[in-house]
């Protein structure tokens, strides 16, 4: 069956199935199991209401449990075995990894990525959100800044190859350098240490749009009275921004920051496509890719290390969520 027809069928079946499930389960609950009639009406309604949330949640819990919770434990257990999964080697994979210089490079680089990219994206996002706030052409500007998010990571890598190319006729950076009198063209992706920053620029370029959109919405939500009160007190625009607006949207800033952090740990395409992990630019996700399906023990061990790095963020997020309760 052609995938197109299969797809259309899936949408019907999937959507219809979901709706049917919810509707049918509610009907069963309300009419069959705990009918709101008769002597036990009151107790039945209460029982129905007790079960109902779980009916609503069931598909989601199944999917989440299977595709996200199970892999966490499944991966950890897989990482305790050797490359073909036949032999239990305990923490052998982790020990070898820690001794691998490439892993250590990837780890340090990743920490750099995690520190710099979310901070820069959030900063630029906030800046642009504030500046375009009352601008007449603000929507156009925001759309242009958001546009890189629509581009796949491979496409973004291609775009930036045109900027970083080691050839003044193709690469923008080298062309600018030549204009300023440089003699030979430089391959910026081979400069030790700084090449990481050049790669990070690509992700910042993409993610700023995301930060900007969310922070822009948050800024709009700041109550007018607080701003006007500050102006009446004689505060200038900068003061208003830093003392009134920023503190009030701080929760959103933090949410944006953590979301981008999570993304930074997932993205491997940029490094994989631009340098293949060479020249000291390796990061954990693309380091994992080079082991994927060849040595699954090692690959899952790396994945688990990524998970560990992200754990503080997860714990913090959960704490915040519970505080809101």
């Amino acid at each position: 069956m052609s995938p197109l027809i299969q797809g259309a069928l899936t949408i019907f079946v999937g959507v219809g199935g979901c709706v049917a499930y919810f509707w049918a389960s509610n009907v069963v609950l309300d009419k069959v199991l705990f009918p709101a009639r008769g002597p036990n009406a009151g107790r039945n309604i209460n029982r129905a209401n007790l079960i109902r949330p779980w009916l609503f949640l069931l598909p989601a819990l199944l999917a989440l449990g299977l595709y996200l919770v199970y892999p966490v434990f499944g991966s950890f257990s897989r990482s305790l075995y050797n490359r073909t999964g036949a032999e239990f080697i305990g923490f052998g994979n982790y020990r070898i990894m820690l001794g691998d210089p490439e892993f250590r490079t990837a780890l340090t680089n990743n920490l750099l990525w995690v520190l710099i990219v979310p901070a820069a994206s959030t900063f630029f996002g906030l800046l642009i959100a504030q500046l375009t706030d009352r601008l007449r052409w603000g929507t156009v500007a925001k759309s242009i800044i958001f546009m890189p998010m629509a581009i796949s990571f491979v496409g973004a890598a291609l775009i930036w190859k045109f900027v970083y190319a080691n050839n003044p006729d193709i690469g923008l950076i080298n062309a600018v350098l030549v204009v300023f009198g440089a003699e030979a063209s430089i391959d910026v992706l081979q400069i030790p240490f700084w090449n990481n920053l050049f790669l990070m620029v690509i992700l910042i370029w993409i993610q700023t749009g995301f930060a900007m959109v969310i922070l822009s919405a948050a800024l709009r939500g700041v109550p007018e009275e607080t701003i006007e009160a500050a102006i009446l007190d004689g505060a200038g625009p900068a003061r208003v921004f830093f003392s009134i607006k920023v503190p009030q949207i701080m929760p959103t800033i933090v949410v944006v920051w953590t979301t981008i952090t999570i993304l930074v740990l997932k993205v491997f395409d940029i490094v994989y496509t631009m340098t293949g992990g060479n020249f000291g630019t390796q990061i954990l996700p693309s380091y994992m890719m080079s082991y994927m399906f060849r040595d699954d023990g090692r690959a899952t061990a790396v994945a688990f290390v990524i998970m560990l790095i992200v754990l503080p963020v997860m714990v913090w997020n959960i704490r915040q969520a519970r505080k809101e309760m």
Partner: protein, 451 residues
């Protein structure tokens, strides 16, 4: 007599049928220097109408188009339908699909090491002994082609797992005859001459070499070819074999010497187009273009026989570009060693059509139809060399046949994580400044981890 006449009538009657069955046959059966007799016999004996054969391999773009011409002949002969899909990341895709049960019927492995890996996991079906015998008898240096496809299976027993179809010659240096003529350079016959020529071109103000290692996730592999070629020219073939099996380690002084000799060419800013920093990042498909620039950006490019597919459009072989054999050291007395590689057809999902395809590949015509399109070399001893598209390919075929020592690309034979991983990245590190000893020790450490 009557029988012979009958056969002729039958075959003759079949030719138009075959030609008309599928309009995509560029070489009309019955014409030209091709070996049609065995083809018609095969067509008569095989009927797979309605069956579908899936093949996946590494050939994309122009190479894929040429392979599909060969497949058209198979389809015309048997009535089966063939679906070929080529991918740049074939090595990764095949592992995933084999393990997921969605492997194609046939897989074309560019690296025997990978095939050995999958064979040991039981994901490839072994071929019958008679196929092995046939290869031993019908391929030049047939037994080595059999040995290269013999690996231990899941049960530990040695089995014959694939048939080599296309061969690449690697010990070639491409150059522009015009540039050499105008500058008055002679083709070097010995490695000493080549080194002297390199010095001279640099002294004359030109840049001798174009070297590019870039290849996406596979960046670094062209350098492994350099090192292997040099390895064959400074050490005995037995040392090369021991290196492939890791009986001598990567950090053995012989290997380090080979790496450093490569560095003589690649780590000298005056010798390489774009300087040393361009070597690691220039895509291998882009780097020969320096030969064709006016004024030339380089004079020589060491690369395998498949590189003409990436020359600029309109380049005439023999006139705009030509090749010479990557020479051996005159004073080492190791003959004229030749490095090559090849692709291996293996059965990943047995079917009647898959077996028929392998039988088809035994026919000379299956090789000749690609030879006539260019960019194809084979070890099949029964093909007609007149079907090569030009003299240049014929000359390459000659080199292949007359090699005193022939060795298969080492990185394709090593385990996937080394030959398609650590060796590549190690060479990139070497070219960007790490010293040969550190690089070699790193690769060896990774190999030790595998054991």
């Amino acid at each position: 007599m009557k029988k012979a006449l009958l056969c002729c009538v039958a075959s003759c009657a079949l030719w138009p049928a075959i030609a008309n069955a599928d309009g995509h046959l560029p070489f009309a059966p019955g014409e030209g220097a091709f070996s049609w007799d065995s083809y018609t016999a095969f067509a008569e004996a095989t009927d797979l109408t309605g069956q579908v054969l899936t093949i996946s391999g590494p050939w994309t773009g122009a190479e894929k188009d040429k392979f599909e011409v060969v497949l058209a002949y198979f389809e015309a002969a048997t009535g089966a339908q063939v679906q070929y899909s080529g991918s740049d990341s074939f090595e990764q895709d095949i592992v995933i699909s084999a393990r997921s049960g969605s492997a194609p019927n046939l897989a074309v492995f560019p690296q025997p090491g990978l095939a050995a890996d999958l064979a040991s996991q039981g994901l490839i079906a072994p071929l019958p002994q008679e196929t092995a015998d046939w290869v031993a008898q019908n391929y030049a240096a047939g037994q080595s082609w059999v040995d290269l496809a013999t690996y231990p299976g899941a049960d530990g027993a040695q089995g014959f797992y694939g048939m080599f179809y296309r061969v690449d010659l690697k010990s070639l240096v491409w150059y522009s005859p015009d540039a050499f003529d105008e500058a008055g350079y002679d083709l070097p016959e010995t490695m000493e001459d080549l080194l002297a020529l390199t010095d001279q071109i640099a002294a004359d103000g030109g840049t001798p070499w174009c070297i590019g290692l870039g290849s996406g996730a596979a960046t670094g592999w062209p350098a492994t070819d350099w090192v292997e070629d040099i390895m064959l020219r400074i050490n005995a073939p037995e040392d090369y074999d021991a290196w492939v099996r890791n009986e001598i380690g990567f950090d053995d002084p012989k290997v380090i010497e080979a790496i450093e000799k490569f560095g003589v060419f690649a780590r000298n800013d005056a010798f390489v187009n774009g300087g040393v920093s361009a070597v690691a990042n220039t895509d291998f498909r882009d780097s020969p273009s320096g030969l064709f620039a006016i004024p030339p950006q380089c004079y020589m490019h060491r690369q395998a026989s498949f590189i003409p597919a990436f020359f600029p459009d309109g380049t005439t072989m023999g006139q705009d570009v030509d090749f010479f054999y990557f020479p051996a050291f005159a004073d080492k007395d190791l003959g004229k060693p030749v490095l090559g590689a090849g692709t291996l057809f293996s059965v990943t999902d047995p079917s009647e059509a898959a077996t028929a395809m392998l039988d088809f590949l035994k026919l000379p015509v299956a090789h000749e139809t690609w030879m006539a399109q260019g960019g194809f070399l084979t070890a099949h001893a029964g093909v007609n060399p007149m079907t090569y598209i030009d003299d240049s390919s014929r000359a390459q075929g000659e080199i292949l046949r007359n090699a005193t020592t022939f060795r298969f690309d080492a990185s394709d034979l090593m385990p996937g994580e080394i030959g398609a991983g650590a060796f590549w990245t190690g060479m990139v590190d070497y070219v960007t400044g790490t010293d040969a000893k550190t690089v070699a020790e790193g690769i060896q450490a990774r190999w030790d981890d595998l054991k």
